[in-house]
Subunit: 205 residues, 2 copies
């Protein structure tokens, strides 16, 4: 068990460093030799942890989805009110995207054309689960509203994902908009767009 | 003049084909030799049109921005009402992103880490102009509203860009949501999020 934890810790360290190398040199441009060097391993040592470059890319993406699971989804699991659950999910997801520490992982997770076949399908399945989770909450929030506006839940789900995932393209925590202000504005904007003022105000009371 | 038009037509054809090659093989993975072959030119013939691989990537992105200018911005130029102008800009931008024909160009325009230095700066300046144009319209729309909700205009601008630009990740015109329904839902959602119900309804009458 201790061995397994140590092995996972090492794999995650490799993922973080390899993500930076892929980010800087491109997936095709970076060699396993370079990645091994950046991690401080021999090439054979790196292959002991991951069997191939494809697999390494998969592990980075899988790690990105693990972070989402651990830092966001596990934390909101016990919340029963769908609006509060959705609100906290949005805050957690924003926090993940704007954290400089995981920026390279975010980029690699979103620009995922290099992954092929079964490994790609596995990552897409995890992404799909998250999309379905968001959609389900949006449906429940819409269902609770007495006078719901009809935005198709798929469209609302992807609009929300676009708003949040696009943040890595422009938002810098050191800029003029604080993360707290960003999260507040996004949540206000999203729920107003979804439900209109009346429902939103009822909810606030 | 005719020569210049012919030369631009050829450059655009090269851009479209090269975008597909970069999309499939990655920027680092694709060689100028391969691109020349795909276009039906010798390598020397390709270099007659574009001086380097960097320059070719720049020309593809620049072409992407030209398409936005010609198909969206030029067409809304004469509209004076900011809400109508913004509405038509959103519709035009959505149309651009979901058109399968230019999908590769969209991807390359958004995943632009491979471009460096001055060429990157030139593309970013064009993107910035578009962002400022959207922001200015949002400010004017907010200013006209009698009871405006306070979403910071920067945040609303990037939320909108995220909603639209993210479409290439998930939306397929052949799927269950028609483009007309998508555009209508996005516009409803965005203006409601920005202004609330009351203003939106006033506007609709």
């Amino acid at each position: 068990m201790t061995h397994r934890i140590e092995s996972q810790r090492k794999l995650r360290e490799i993922c973080r460093i390899a993500a930076r190398v892929f980010y800087e040199r491109g997936y095709d441009g970076a060699s396993m030799q370079e990645i091994a060097k950046a991690v401080g391993l021999t090439k054979a040592g790196l292959y002991h942890h991951v069997q191939s470059k494809d697999r390494l890319l998969f592990e980075i993406m899988n790690y990105g989805m693990d972070i989402l699971q651990e830092n966001v989804l596990d934390k909101v699991q016990a919340i029963t009110d769908p609006r509060e659950k959705l609100r906290q999910t949005i805050m957690g997801h924003i926090d993940l995207i704007v954290r400089a520490r995981d920026m390279e992982i975010t980029v690699i997770l979103h620009e995922n054309r290099s992954l092929k076949g079964k490994l790609r399908e596995k990552i897409n399945a995890r992404k799909r689960d998250y999309i379905l989770f968001l959609r389900e909450m949006i449906v429940r929030v819409q269902g609770k509203a007495r006078d719901a506006v009809r935005v198709p839940p798929e469209v609302a789900t992807f609009a929300l994902l676009g708003m949040i995932n696009w943040l890595y393209q422009w938002y810098r925590p050191s800029g003029p908009i604080s993360q707290a202000e960003l999260a507040r504005s996004y949540i206000d904007f999203f729920f107003r767009g979804l439900l209109g003022d009346k429902e939103r105000n009822v909810w606030r009371q």
